[in-house]
Symmetry: C2
Subunit: 199 residues, 2 copies
DNA sequence: GTCTATACGCCGATAGAC
DNA sequence: GTCTATCGGCGTATAGAC
């Protein structure tokens, strides 16, 4: 689970501790149910005061998490695109990443899939205007042009593909599906791909 | 949009006003970003005090909404089951209902599909243990037994089917898909059904 | 049943010693 | 950079007149 740590890594060790503590708490209890006192003690500090030497306020902690996580995702998508030519392979790579993260960095996935970010980060870009997401739409568009994917609204194709994958992963994250995400990966990938594949 | 009103209807006119105001605010701003002051003024009251004559506290307002909405959903599922024999028809009926509600009672659907209910209603049953949901799983199990639906874990089938539908409806609700839900209904239903249908 | 007025607590945030 | 101490404010909730 230090996949988590790697993704949110920032300048100093203390900042990382605070970010990691906040991530876990936000993911499990929600942003508004998490007080700075909670974060402070989870980061082994006596008081909330010290936190303000590292972050301007509570919202900026969440904003940092948002930035780290989406930057990391965007970079991962770039790598996947570089390593694969066909849209089907690229989408498969992204699906693989999501399943892997669900098992190895569940708090990150909870942040991505479950939290309503706009509720506590109203000024950040909605997920769908995020570079990572825009690239995913481009992959789908390429797939349509290449005849791999059915000719439908790319946003709809995205909804079908990630609808299946994300919903499955949400059930893993909340324990309704009680095996590791990897167990469901092959059949779920296939179902998702078939939902948008041509023919 | 008085489909909304009908679903949350309770004892008195004033209670309905409060519930409806709260529903809209919770759905658009989130539970924690909504103060009782917000609800009071949206329900044309000068102060929060009057609210306490109708509800014990803020959480009980949300709990009332939860009960009304899930009860109503459960009853709708019962009717759909009574009017249709085949699992495919029953699932189609539920999908139809969801699309209809998205256009005619969007706040209800926002409450159902987007809010993280456990964050502010920790003592209520999780959605998946709710009567309506249990009945849906039963429909899927019947469909598997009857050979209509592929022989996979019913929870997974549920994830595939409603993954596609709910994700599509979420995009409609947040405006990313800018036509009415009904426009996407035929093709989305088909994609969802094909994701679990046998052969 | 709705109003005015007010109490109370929690939490985010700051000042300043060390 | 972390601590003690403390402030200010918002939001929930109550008391009590009308």
């Amino acid at each position: 689970m230090d996949q988590e740590k790697e993704i949110i890594q920032s300048k100093t060790e203390t900042q990382d501790e605070i970010l990691l503590a906040a991530l876990k708490l936000f993911a499990t209890k929600g942003y508004f149910n998490t007080s700075l006192t909670d974060i402070a003690e989870a980061a082994s500090m006596k008081n909330t005061a010290a936190i303000y030497h590292h972050f301007k306020n509570k919202q900026m902690i969440a904003a940092q998490l948002y930035t780290k996580i989406f930057d990391n995702l965007s970079i991962s998508v770039d790598e996947i695109r570089r390593r694969n030519q066909k849209s089907s392979e690229q989408l498969r790579g992204i699906a693989d990443l999501f399943f892997k993260l669900t098992d190895e960095a569940p708090y990150i996935m909870q942040f991505l899939l479950i939290l309503n970010l706009n509720e506590f980060l109203p000024e950040e870009k909605p997920v769908m205007e995020t570079p990572a997401f825009i690239k995913i739409i481009k992959i789908i568009q390429s797939g349509i042009k290449a005849g791999e994917i059915r000719d439908i609204d790319p946003l709809l194709a995205n909804a079908y593909f990630f609808g299946i994958i994300n919903k499955t992963l949400r059930l893993v994250l909340n324990g309704a599906l009680n095996k590791k995400a990897g167990v469901y990966q092959p059949q779920t990938w296939l179902a998702a791909w078939n939902a948008i594949a041509k023919k």
